[in-house]
Subunit: 412 residues, 2 copies
Amino acid sequence: MNAEILAVGTELLLGQIVNTNAAFISRRLADVGVHVYYQTVVGDNAERLRQAVELARTRADILIFTGGLGPTKDDLTKETIAAVLGARLVHDEAALSYIEDYFARTGRPFTENNRKQALVLQGSTVFPNDHGMAPGMGLQQGDKLYVLLPGPPKEMNPMFTSYVEPFLQRLAGSDALHSRVLRFFGIGESQLEHVLQDIIDSQSNPTIAPLASEGEVTLRLTAKHALAEEASRMLDAVEAQIMDRVGEYLYGYDDETLHEKAVAMLRSKSFSLSCAESLTGGLFSERITSVPGVSSLFRGGIVCYSNDVKQQVLRVPAEVLQTDGAVSAACAKLLAENVRELLGTDVGISFTGVAGPDSLEGKQPGTVYIGISIQGQPSAAVGLQLGGSRPLVRERAVKYGLYHLYRKLEEL
Amino acid sequence: MNAEILAVGTELLLGQIVNTNAAFISRRLADVGVHVYYQTVVGDNAERLRQAVELARTRADILIFTGGLGPTKDDLTKETIAAVLGARLVHDEAALSYIEDYFARTGRPFTENNRKQALVLQGSTVFPNDHGMAPGMGLQQGDKLYVLLPGPPKEMNPMFTSYVEPFLQRLAGSDALHSRVLRFFGIGESQLEHVLQDIIDSQSNPTIAPLASEGEVTLRLTAKHALAEEASRMLDAVEAQIMDRVGEYLYGYDDETLHEKAVAMLRSKSFSLSCAESLTGGLFSERITSVPGVSSLFRGGIVCYSNDVKQQVLRVPAEVLQTDGAVSAACAKLLAENVRELLGTDVGISFTGVAGPDSLEGKQPGTVYIGISIQGQPSAAVGLQLGGSRPLVRERAVKYGLYHLYRKLEEL
């Protein structure tokens, strides 16, 4: 089976946005054994889109469209495909009432063109949009499969994972694919691949696919078997082989994130948390509070961007700032201890460093100190030298902080 | 004149890399008045690449290829195009001696397959590769133009800007395109389009293209004229028409962001800033501190996620939390006033609300209050009912905060 991915949108042809959807979908399809031979981008133009659909039908089994499901006149993916297939468009009642509710709830004026978003190809399987309004859909016609998805990645990615993948697997039938993702931190992609090369090369079922992003590395193990239990056993066996070599870097599975793991660990210990952020400017707090219901354990934080705030609010002595500097292990420890006391929590964590682009206190960009203070324990600081641009340094610092917090609590 | 961009590389079809080249080239072509009607991605497969070239010749005047110019057997862009065009490949002496020098200089062993990188289509204009080895080339044949460029963006982007653009402009002559992007906040895409529909429909030069993302809407105005001054006048005229109807929602131009605008406004008034964040959990601070050099005006913030912190650190009276609640205009105002005093700044801003998924204090998800306190002014609160998931509510709340802060300061 092979697929063609067709992105629809003039903004792509103008270069205003990058087609990350094609890469996302291609990667997921590769994991389930579907080959992608072409990715096509076409504008909001009915005639050129029609030609692209006609062509794709001659060279692919599965046609996956992204974009052009919105409310405006420019959005013509559904209409064009319906015309090519001789299919009808009908209102999906669930989608329509969701859209009407949304406008009523937010008090925004409902304009008639929004009803268009609830139109679907008659006879298709409708995919709910958990992060937006326009639903997706999948329609089998003859030996071809047509999948239509919204353009914004925030809507498309979760829709693909939650609804399109199971839909494709149901159609594929027989030997289903069972995946498990292992998540690592603190080891580079090339190093991980190097250490596991012989295992990766010798495996065909399950397959092992590494993927790196932002300091994290994942391995996706995919087993093909009709029975879920047997597939699970196959995955266990390969996982055990991998754990033998790089188990110390594993922090989680599947969609687990470092911040969710850290929060779960705090919860299991009934520990409350606070933080003091200089370098990261609120990013750590933001990440922690993205977990719903975290208010029972995360009390708050101080963004101590200026040294005045470090001194006056967080009581770092002027001597420390003068002799060690704000970017130092000593300062990181004091920030963690003092925010813990100030906000009355069991655990305090702090971030200080140089995000760049300029140096600070003679320390180069990427210099980072993370302080961790746990009630009844001596406080500790971790020094790092991170690479990358300003946003990357901040992002990576937060991940290291979450990782070390998790490990420290695990060791207790 | 219209162009098709063809990216060659199986790693794109596997989703291992994102096709940023297509966006980069499209944007640059749009600016010089070349329409892109299709972007195509095809793998390292001679037969499918040949078909893609044959097809593109029937629908585009300019074919721009990226990737497949390297030394390995997988790199077959030149060979395939030469076969389709009946052209010969010859060694470019300058490229060849550059490559040989490179290996001699770095002491790396020269392998014979590297000579392949210096092959060019006979009769083509050769584009030097200032950041790598494989040169690019442009060949006119009949009324079609073939441009071949290396795949790595760090080689391709500078080659395009330095050599391909001048090459295209020499060939094209005549009218250039001039764009201006207007950025709006606080109005939805469908509403904006509805209000401006007659202007959009009646315009062909300049053209008007709307684009929405995350609560912001942009309009790209593009005028075609040989003289930059005249194009600018044409853009001014359309902008004035648009401003008449939706001017109150405009906040900036081109690549300006809300947080940069807010920071610039604070700087122009020599005002310092602090913030108190409940709902947004540090996201506002993070956004503000993403601007380098902001430490001179942003002193810091308090993430007051729990009511204890609101009460004990930010001194919101228990009565207010009990009667009005933490999610209230009264609480938002007090948070803004008190963080301003605590951190000693000219301006304080606060965020309180319900991010969801659950309700809080009987208020539904999306309920947001933003407090703004400016030294010497009565403090104010804005109440909002926002739609979307938990991360979207937080994201939008921050944008509304930046927008209202900007407006309030502008009015002073």
